[in-house]
Amino acid sequence: MNFEPVIGLEVHAQLLTDTKIFCDCSTKFGAEPNSHTCPVCLGMPGVLPVLNKKVVDFLLKMAMATNCKINRESSFARKNYFYPDLPKGYQISQYAEPPVEHGWIDIETEGGKKRIGITRIHMEEDAGKLIHDENSPASYVDLNRTGVPLIEIVGDPDLRSAEEAAAYLRRIHEILVYLEICDGNMEEGSFRCDANISLRPVGQKEFGTRTELKNMNSFRNVQRALEYEIKRQQYLLESGGVVVQETRLWDDAAGVTKSMRSKEEAHDYRYFPEPDLVPIVVDDEWQDEIRRAMPELPLEKRERFSSEYQLSAYDAGVLTQSRALADYFEEVARLSGQPKAAANWVMGDILRFLNDEKKTVGECPVSPANLAAMIRLIQEGTISGKMAKDISEAMYKTGGTPEEIIKEKGLVQITDGDALAATLSAILAKNPGQVAQYQSGKEKLFGFFVGQAMKATGGKANPQMLNDLLKKMLAKH
């Protein structure tokens, strides 16, 4: 029997606000344990949460980027469970009345564009972290992360393969990072993903029994875990077994998913409306304010780059892989007035230098102004393309301007006709035999003279000028 996977992803994204969702503590990563805490995020008796409006701003941005319906009113709920990293004994989340729902994004699949539904997006607070000391029977609690704002993006079960799931996840990641509301760092846990997956016979409408996969901390992990789980469930179903509804953990080292807990042990979170917070009302004015501040999204940018700069779809894709890179390119294009050349230089040398050193475009020592200046120098004929290669490398190393590097290396093209003519005369005089052969029809020797001239000028001769002059002089002889 042919089976078809049905996959839905739940993504948790940590928001890049300066302060926590319900208090004024810093959200900065990597501080001394418990240094970013206060009575509110520690859940001390009597203290109360106050919603950070910035979190709603960020949520609204994501909602608009994913075509979601924004509900005018939504509310918070308490999700109750005991754990030492949860100081209040409940997590403030959103449950019955989501602020944002019914959206979609498009992904590229082998079969073309596919639309994936977004069920809902809601806000919640993060929990803390337990630190287990292997040499002692004690465990320690770090509550710096407690109250750090998260959004949970719940996708519809529209994905039909591990590849589609990975593509969807990349798109979500790209949008979050583009909106500058999440740093997207999977290793530090600021972008996390759980997957619900079931199999059903092709053509069947009802979903099969699903499992939930957790602990996948890279795009590759997500794809591998889903591939494994599809095979596991398929084997079970084909061999007459049943899939048990449970939570499974991805074991990266072993390359398998393992049972974590079954449904019977599942929590009863006893959700109920959070009485300490009033409903969130997002009026038109608030929405308009966010809409005005919305940046161009990667997909729109790609289309604009293709039409505005006549770039290929591939080039537009590369240049929009991050907002910073796109901005960098656009700045070079604007300052140089030559988008095509700008695209080639950014995608060629600049990205290669950065990739070699695993740096981001934000850390690029070559400023857009310097790169643009270099492109203009090529256009003006001051330097050759070959010289430019050396100059760009030097600019990357020193951060200097092209003019500084040209001066330092003495790299200006010889565009002085008299000087060039004198050099050529000397070469022709030194090689009378070759001149005769050329003039008798052996035109291949033209390259020989060019080579000699370049050698004599240290490669600085303007090639166009050299060619023209040489042709004229050989004709005269």
């Binding site: 008796p45 009597g46 100081p87 609690v141 009485p275």
Partner: protein, 485 residues
């Protein structure tokens, strides 16, 4: 008359004229505490040392013509409001070692007003109870009859004011915990509109019902205290960003032409005949003062108790989850593993009434029962609110008994939770609706126990309540008795 027997406004006058000092008033209150506290047991923690320092500061300020609204006035604090640097137990073993690093918003306001804190008063554990008998620190006693309860959960605060162990006190009211003990102890107690007073730093029992309010010796003092306590606080999202009037301006304005509703559902079975008689007397007094009393109906009254005992425990079960022995408060010294530590800590740290309510609340919120209990209760709660909205369309205020009976004997109802819960029969609806209510003394039983009458008004109509309460107080001329201690 001793200084500690006077009201805030009388003492303010004496302080202003230089007839006395804050130190003398404070000394007078502490002398009384030393004399009667062993019998009354109103306090869990006394703050004598800091009190005299505060009194000294108040005297200096007064001398310079400065000092806040309560400069030099000894105030007792229910042990449910967090006080920076002072033990705050909420009447529970669970917090028997908890010293908050912050002040509740009301404590800040009182400090700013120059109040002198006498101490933290006894209360039912986590404010769950109607008699102060569930306190981990033992029960407080009614100053009018030491064999009887002072009411609850703010019984310690009410007893401290009634016994003149302070001039006024702070309580919290989730289902009647200010008004019921005020009535049983023969003093004035007000529960403000939900959102009128910041809950920041008030240890939560049921967040959607809790409200802080004053206990005072008369209505004028109540207005004064309300001036200090009220106001918006950005740290409490449910606090109302609404202007606070000077509540004193409502005193003595008269109620001629007012229409006062008498909810018929409050005068049915279970009402003690002596209480009924006293409250009927109050109705007559209000009419003599120029108001017209009319019968009104609050048809969903019969569901109030049931709704309350779903909503309050549900919220409490969640609010009390933080007491897990991990970060602060009591932790059971031994535990095999995490779950065992949780179980032992919560088993030993909480008393029976708290455990009972946690279990009720946990059950009511459980999946499969949520719709039948919590959700249904929330829906009925809306109907209860609507009853009041309807009533206040035609009435300026409502008048009801505060409690079904005068103070009962210690131990009388401890084995019968339902009987205990019934003592909040007339106060609970106010909290469910979020409206303000005040209890004012309206007489004595044959055996000399105080009886209270309750006035209710619409949201943020505390001014109206003070207006009618002060008018009642003036016309009723209830005989001024003092408990024989």
């Amino acid at each position: 008359m001793e200084l500690n027997q006077l009201t805030i406004h009388e003492l303010k006058e004496k302080l202003r004229s230089g007839a006395t000092t804050a130190e003398e008033i404070t000394a007078s209150s502490f002398a009384r505490i030393e004399a009667v506290e062993k019998d009354v047991h109103a306090y869990i923690t006394l703050m004598k040392e800091t009190a005299f320092a505060e009194a000294k500061r108040a005297d200096e300020a007064i001398k310079k013509g400065e000092g806040g609204l309560l400069a030099g006035i000894p105030i007792a604090l229910k042990d449910i409001a967090c006080t920076k640097g002072t033990l705050t137990t909420c009447g529970s073993r669970m917090l028997s070692n908890f010293v908050p690093p912050y002040d509740a918003a009301v404590i800040e306001k009182l400090r700013e007003a120059g109040a002198v804190f006498t101490g933290k008063t006894n209360m039912d554990e986590f404010a769950m109870g109607s008699s102060t008998e569930t306190s981990f620190y033992g029960t407080s006693r009614n100053p009018w009859d030491l064999e009887r309860i002072p009411g609850g959960s703010s019984g310690g605060s009410a007893a401290a004011v009634a016994a003149d162990e302070c001039i006024a006190a702070i309580g919290s009211d989730t289902g009647g915990s200010i008004r019921q003990p005020a009535a049983l102890c023969g003093i004035v107690g007000m529960k403000p509109t939900y959102g009128r007073v910041s809950r920041y730093g008030l240890i939560a029992f049921a967040s959607s019902l809790d409200q802080i309010g004053p206990f005072t010796k008369d209505v004028e003092d109540c207005a004064l205290m309300m001036n200090v306590l009220s106001g918006y606080d950005r740290r409490d999202s449910t606090s109302a960003d609404q202007e606070v009037p000077d509540y004193r301006q409502f005193l003595g304005k008269g109620i001629a032409g007012w229409k006062v509703g008498i909810p018929k559902e409050y005068f049915v079975g279970g009402l003690d005949p002596e209480v009924e008689e006293a409250v009927r007397g109050a109705i007559k007094t209000i009419e003599e003062a120029g108001a017209q009393c009319v019968e009104v109906s609050l048809p969903h009254t019969e569901y109030c108790l049931a709704v309350y005992y779903i909503v309050a425990p549900a919220e409490a079960s969640s609010n009390l989850a933080r007491y897990d022995g991990v970060k602060y408060g009591f932790r059971f010294p031994e535990g095999r593993d995490l779950l065992d530590m949780y179980k032992k800590t919560r088993s030993a740290g909480f008393g029976n009434e708290v455990k009972r309510r946690i279990m009720i609340g946990t059950y009511a919120l459980s999946s499969g029962y949520y719709d039948a209990y919590y959700k249904k209760a929330s829906q009925v709660r809306s109907l209860i609110k609507r009853d009041f909205d309807e009533a206040f369309k035609t009435c300026d205020a409502l008048l009801t008994p505060t409690t079904p009976t005068p103070a009962f004997r210690i131990g009388e109802k401890t084995d019968d939770p339902m009987q205990m819960y019934l003592s909040d029969l007339f106060t609970i609806s106010t909290n469910l609706a979020g409206i303000p209510g005040i209890s004012v003394p309206c007489g004595y039983s044959a055996s000399g126990l105080p009886i209270g009458v309750q006035f209710l008004a619409g949201h943020f109509q505390e001014g109206r309540l003070l207006q009618i309460a002060s008018e009642y107080e003036k016309h009723a001329q209830i005989e001024k008795r003092r408990p024989n201690l």
